[in-house]
Amino acid sequence: MTEKAPYIQVIDLDFEYPDGTQALKDINLEIVKGEFIALIGQNGSGKTTLSKCLNGLYKPTAGDIIVDGLNTKKSSIVQMVKRVGYVFQNPDHQLFNSNCWDEIAYGPRNIQLSDEEVKERVEEAIQVVGLPKIYHSEHPFFLSKGLRQRVAIASILALRPHVIIVDEPTTGQDMKQSLEIMDFLQDLNDKHGHTIIIITHDMPIVGLYARRVIAMAQARIMADGPTREVFTQAEVLEKTFLAPPQITQLAQADPKLGFDPGTLTVDEMLAQFMKMN
């Protein structure tokens, strides 16, 4: 197998807000195409700031970020939004048009595509997120949060970025809705080849969907690796003030019980139990 070249490279990144708050320190990271990553950490650990650096909204105070061969410091917003899309935690913070179609068309229009191309992009995005036709001319605020989130994601997809970062996709959703949104992101990953990064506090969701976990604390990356490995590093997790999902805790509780400490889901736990009995 050939080594895949990284799509995103973060090299010795520091970021400081104008008021002097050090939000990111010594960040080094490589992301290859097709990954499904969960960015986890306490509130204020730097997750959202890092995302906004990855899509060029914030420029590094020190160090560099290279996306698809482009240095974010020297690239325009237009170049960046075509590569890395960021979906806000609260869809209401990004939706402002009076109907869904225009909302999704806003980005493509803004990068000065022709009317024909705009239409093509919007129709494509609508199809991918599966927004029923009756909602196309509806005001976004009359939609449920799940549907508003889809419109928010569609408006990002219409710019055809390769990487899609979704900030807390499941907040305020019940479990059924959460699984629907996550299945949709998984489709974008599997079927459409997008690299997905989710920022989340929901550890069972991380266990179910993410193949790689980046855990942050106090502006630094404390752990970065396959989900199974990161969730077995109890000491590191403690430093990030996080705990693995309950089912993983149950599997890890007593080695004598014979469960794999890297168990991530109820189904995995069940399969092991049945094998033993």
């Binding site: 509130n43 479990m175 309950q246």
Partner: protein, 283 residues
């Protein structure tokens, strides 16, 4: 113990909708108890919460049937503002309740409004900022702090009013697991030390379950199940059918039961789950 809330045959229909948001609700809440309300989005949980502090029917147009009594008095019969001193609501969207330019003003606003003396305000401010660990944020504008911090400010502002009944609508949705645990520690303390009656609407069951005395399941505007927490969660199948996933340990034992590997009660916490596993394995 006496009931602080008694709801009988209660229905509420918002003026612009065809069907009632909630219908045929019967619910009693004992003084000092901790009640968890769960259910899919759109089940009517928030409508029920608003009904218990008079926001409904006070601030909304609609049609009410049945009775909602708080401390023995129908909610509409309270003088303006009186019920809100007895019942405090923490909204799921903290920004919806912010009005002031600093966190401190935000916390003081309500207390000034009900005419508390300056020393009393100072005492309560100190108590509440310590309890919710907000001292370092007092001078910040509420819109400059993080989502998690906003939720703590929203809780503190309501606690400062020292309501007897506290209703929290998804109080930890924006919080990381540690901060979430901290909010529930605050609630545990209030329950133990202040004898507050606490009603929490939550999607995240892990922290709720160990504290709740009673659980209520709502779906499609009705109460489907109401019971003591241990008994409530023995109905895991109903919960899963409604798209509500129990915490991992409980979910695992539910699956074991479905496959006839296990007959007993479901564990409420990881610790209980570990003990049960050891029992099954014979050590």
């Amino acid at each position: 113990m006496s009931n602080v809330i008694e709801i009988e045959d209660y229905s509420w229909k918002y003026v612009n909708t065809r069907t009632p948001a909630i219908e045929g609700i019967n619910l009693t809440v004992e003084e000092g108890s901790f009640v968890g309300i769960i259910g899919p989005n759109g089940a009517g949980k928030t409508t029920l919460a608003y009904s218990m502090d008079g926001l409904i029917p006070g601030q909304y147009n609609g049609i009410k049937k049945g009775t909602v009594e708080v401390f023995g008095t129908e909610v509409e019969d309270y003088a303006k503002g009186e019920l809100q001193q007895l019942v405090g609501v923490v909204f799921s969207d903290p920004e919806a309740q912010f009005t002031a330019m600093t966190v401190e003003d935000e916390l003081v606003f309500g207390m000034e409004n009900i005419g508390l003396s300056v020393p009393e305000i100072r005492d309560r401010l100190e108590w509440v900022t310590e309890l919710t660990e907000l001292s370092h944020l007092l001078m910040k504008p509420p819109y400059e702090i993080s989502g998690g911090q906003k939720q703590r400010v929203a809780l503190a502002a309501v606690l400062a009013m020292r309501p007897k009944i506290l209703i929290l609508d998804e109080p930890t949705s924006m919080l990381d697991p540690v901060s979430r645990g901290r909010i529930f520690e605050v609630l545990a303390k209030l329950k133990a030390e202040e004898n507050n009656t606490i009603i929490v609407i939550e999607h995240s069951l892990e922290n709720l379950i160990p504290l709740a005395d009673q659980m209520v399941l709502m779906a499609d505007g009705s109460i489907l199940l109401q019971d003591e927490t241990q008994a409530f969660f023995q109905q895991s199948k109903l919960l899963l059918d409604k798209g509500l996933y129990p915490p991992g340990a409980m979910h695992f034992f539910h699956e074991l039961k479905m496959k006839n590997y296990y007959q007993g009660k479901y564990p409420l916490t990881v610790t209980e789950g570990i003990d049960l596993l050891r029992e099954i394995k014979g050590f």
